[in-house]
Symmetry: C2
Subunit: 387 residues, 2 copies
Amino acid sequence: MTRSWVPGADESLFGLDNLPYGVFSRQGEAPRVGVRVGDHVLDLAPVLDDEVFAAPSLNPFLARGRTAWQETRARLQALLAAEAGGNRAAVEPHLVPLDQVTMHLPVEVADYVDFYASLEHASNLGRIFRPDEEPLKPNWRHLPVGYHGRAGTVVVSGTPIRRPCGQRMPGPSFGPSVRLDIEAELGYVVGAPTRLGERAGAFDDHVFGVTLVNDWSARDIQAWEYVPLGPFLGKSFATSISPWITPLEALRPARVAGREQDPAPMDYLRRDAPWGLDLTLRVELNGETISTPSYRNMYWTPDQMLAHMTVNGASLRTGDLFASGTISSEGAFGSLIEVTWNGAEPIKLADGTTRSFLEDGDTVTISAVAPGGIALGAVTGRITPAT
Amino acid sequence: MTRSWVPGADESLFGLDNLPYGVFSRQGEAPRVGVRVGDHVLDLAPVLDDEVFAAPSLNPFLARGRTAWQETRARLQALLAAEAGGNRAAVEPHLVPLDQVTMHLPVEVADYVDFYASLEHASNLGRIFRPDEEPLKPNWRHLPVGYHGRAGTVVVSGTPIRRPCGQRMPGPSFGPSVRLDIEAELGYVVGAPTRLGERAGAFDDHVFGVTLVNDWSARDIQAWEYVPLGPFLGKSFATSISPWITPLEALRPARVAGREQDPAPMDYLRRDAPWGLDLTLRVELNGETISTPSYRNMYWTPDQMLAHMTVNGASLRTGDLFASGTISSEGAFGSLIEVTWNGAEPIKLADGTTRSFLEDGDTVTISAVAPGGIALGAVTGRITPAT
């Protein structure tokens, strides 16, 4: 690990090998781009003398493409390194303690796609929802199943989540969801676009980085509405993401081959590089850890998702976000409907209460760590009552 | 009808009671906002002395809200009226013949939602895809079923449509779609946004106008991928819209009560005003009319779609587009899969060829007329071979 002169950085999980990007503001000032170092955010526009970082989202920087991303990262690592020497005096005034800033949505989300890439999650939901059938649909092992979500309701971590109303099962009856759930996911942020009619090229030429996602889900609304066109209002009320986008570069030590696939995927889905990721997530409910699913064994890897999403010539835009779907591993699940097995086995909390699904006032926080002493920025949200 | 001094306007279906908005450019110039009058487009920025119309999309104007939309329309009608008097000399230099301009995507599409609002279409597809079951799913008469589509591949009329590749039924096999279809739809463009957690108010406070939509569909890709999360690559390669957005105001004479609904819809879906529309569509394949479906009898009205889409607190953004789903009426269908009954009854064309689905080189044009001598701008597209 390259050591840094920034106080606390080397001892944190946000040292020089990490350096995630976000959008922050100081009181009374406009949002702008920063990089996290330890418990500080570095204000990039003055340090790098580049107006692209004075924008209120990462999009203009992401649009510059991979070479620019690499150059910027290398420059920041040099400026922040212990041996930075004379640079330190110029940089230090632009380090702002995290507790003095407000974090904003880091990316102006173009299209949002959610996949369904965990074999355990898809199997569990099949068993719960369709107990008399094969848990996996016939297509599941042939392609990464996915669908478009609502980009306009992707919100930054910390945004209160209002309990949605709608038509619910059983019934249908109308009212606030009583089966409000989470989905712990990893999201991939597209930087470099493609043109309509073209397929995407190499994964790391297009994808800038990753973020943690909580795809809030109202199971009782979803169960009634989802045939035949898929989830809609059961998901579209809010999707939270971490304020930090971790560059792919930082996750290099976390890369693993990815799970074996049977049947062998079609040519356009063939893996050319190890794009599995050895990440361990932690799901906390009101501060108590309720699950620690691993991403390592996800069935479909992100390069396969990207290849699939564009094989029909659909174009990519800067700011596209595509997520993995719920991350469940053997015995460690990324949704309450799995943890409590559809409410049959409620969670017991330390305060003596139990949970099948979320109550008003509950706070859920999802975090993740990777080998090499890297953490992703956490995503958190608190449930507020329906109106 | 108010008469206009613009040559040919009164005799066209684009007179002063119509005045749809679009984005145009003259050779070598930047795209900007114009209004169609007869076979001319009026360059609004200089005429109204307002920079909002120098933007390359309608979004900044749409964001101003209903009062501004009404004022602008009234001003334009006065400037273009036969009795405009001295105004004519100032306006006339900014009228450009349509054949001297290129039309662009009129709206920067935020989220794109597609509904499934035609009872005939939903029933027909049920009969074709699931012949052994009830054609309608249990939820269909209780709520307007819908899903999110890909906003980034909404393209303007005239954009070539490349035949998509993908995993297809039967099989799965990989290759170009051999069941490429159209869906003739009406799209609604949102102007005034809402905040997260709020429901939308009155329909005409939020929705600016309508456009024709061709939701190109690869039936063989869709059939394999769509369970359980809905259509994805079978639709996401392209969705074409007319270059013209017709203000709701222009469709006042077309408004009808809307079809009776059984069971009575829940309170939040109660109709408070007649938002059915008496429109007749025309679908042409290589210049031959193959169907003339009516919008009049659509089951779910657009105010119900808007109420449904936001009942869970999902916010609206300026530029959101939501479409009706395929418009089929009794005996007149808005998709080839219905017209040819899944290929069992191919269309015979005047050149002696037949069609079950689209061939490379085919051109499809969808147009529509409303009472009061109003036409919507047509949407057209030609199929180019897969790569």
